[in-house]
Subunit: 334 residues, 2 copies
Amino acid sequence: MQFEKLDSIPALAASLPRADENARAEALARQNNLTKPPGALGRLEELAIFMAGWQANPRPRIERAQALVFAGNHGICAQGVNPFPQEVTAQMVANFDAGGAAINQLCAANGAALGVIALDLDRPTADFTTGPAMTVAETLDAMNRGAAAVDAKADILILGEMGIGNSTVAAALGAACFGGSAAEWVGPGTGSDPAGIARKIAAIEAGLRRHAGQSPMQVLASLGGREQAAICGAVLAARAARVPVILDGFICTAAAACLHAADPHLLAHCLVGHASAEPGHRRLLAALGQTPVLEFDMRLGEGTGAALALGILRSALACHNGMATFAEAGVAGG
Amino acid sequence: MQFEKLDSIPALAASLPRADENARAEALARQNNLTKPPGALGRLEELAIFMAGWQANPRPRIERAQALVFAGNHGICAQGVNPFPQEVTAQMVANFDAGGAAINQLCAANGAALGVIALDLDRPTADFTTGPAMTVAETLDAMNRGAAAVDAKADILILGEMGIGNSTVAAALGAACFGGSAAEWVGPGTGSDPAGIARKIAAIEAGLRRHAGQSPMQVLASLGGREQAAICGAVLAARAARVPVILDGFICTAAAACLHAADPHLLAHCLVGHASAEPGHRRLLAALGQTPVLEFDMRLGEGTGAALALGILRSALACHNGMATFAEAGVAGG
């Protein structure tokens, strides 16, 4: 998948694959014949049917799970929006590469192959209070790098991110796409104090004023960052290959929300892995009409909430594929 | 562990092991040095510290996980409280033994060794509207069989149950232990219609009238069943061996709630795996002061919610034990 114009992204909704309704119906019929009262596995049944639709397979499988973490640096850090120095982004990428981060453990525990893609960390985006964060060419380049990283043969894709300052970016994207004041979208991120939160709010307000009245994909360029654009590219490439996606928390969802604002159908193949403790995430989930799989007060990013949700999906499919039907088991009541 | 008198159960709270506060403190200190903002893994951090305390090990492990499902039959079915015939209990036990039930798939997916213990299925308890469901001797026998089934070398124990009619038993135990009307504790169970729910309420009201003013352990005998007593025995035997426990949903929690009503310290080593869709479970969770690990609208029993939660605990410990500290990773901000 190759992106050449931001303007043509919304129209993709008409041409990208849809969920296979026959596979969904067959999966639902199977669920209703398994040795349990219909519906008794609750959300696990919904997740199995969701996977059936996107894999176009009434017996969906997760044999090959890919996790991608995109990292970027942000010019908005010049406004003092984050207590950590930008060098931490590269240090955490080194930690990912060495296997020492939370996402490494959660990918190992839940069976995902982790790919980490550092996007020009030595070349932060521009400060969005003084101009667009990225040029259109930079945005398309990051989207294409995100798309190119997707394994089209994966059974599921987990998305995450790392980037000092990117909770400010996420709040700006949310406010620009869905309205509301900067203060309503801002939270403590990696640990801002009240003065730091005030700086985040002021920076976002300045960015919203400077880049008002833009389309969602223009917003991605003006207020986003490379890892946000890469996430959008990966989401679309996964869709083209019928690979269902688990988005992570606030920052990952905010990136994908630009696609939702462009056309809600673009995210139909995406789940949100968890509800972040970052307050703006609730607003995003409501805007996207998404019920997160998990809720553990996590606020780390990296794809950690999505990787945890992968374990739940594995359990959902284990039940769907492995359970006996009433007839097979000779149990009354089927 | 051998139980000889129901009256002596509450006093066990004083002699059974407590969480190791040193191990908890060491585990917390480790969490605060790992490469993430302190607290950013939310509930996963709490779960790791919980495990550290009960295993008395600042680096807790799950190498040996045991799941026990106890099955029993209930005389209260004579009151028409369940749309399924009692034979389904034995049929489902056969399904467990053949590997075809949800709990089999979830134990396999989340790494637990499953033991299924059918407790005198051909000898249902008595109808509690006409007398005590079990004699004291029957209650102690079931408790001892539950205790004897516990693997004292397990790193964690998952508990579940199966028994046609036992959502009525659970509602009766909840109302007797914590007050409230029968109607407030009753839900659809495996699928009762309004007339069936009315029969459940009437049966519980009759049972509450007949067995009023009893101690929690007497309530277990009068209104409970063999699988409920076995769960209580297993909970206590696990505690004696410092094995943390994950309780399942409404019925399993209601059984253990008799111990909580006897002395809340008796359940200090227990988590509740999920919040059941069965409405009485909310009341139980509030009475026990428990926040369930998961919430998926499941209402199957068998230990399914607890087995799912085991996967989350594995992820929590993978992060706790596998992540690098700030110093190890050379990341700024530790």
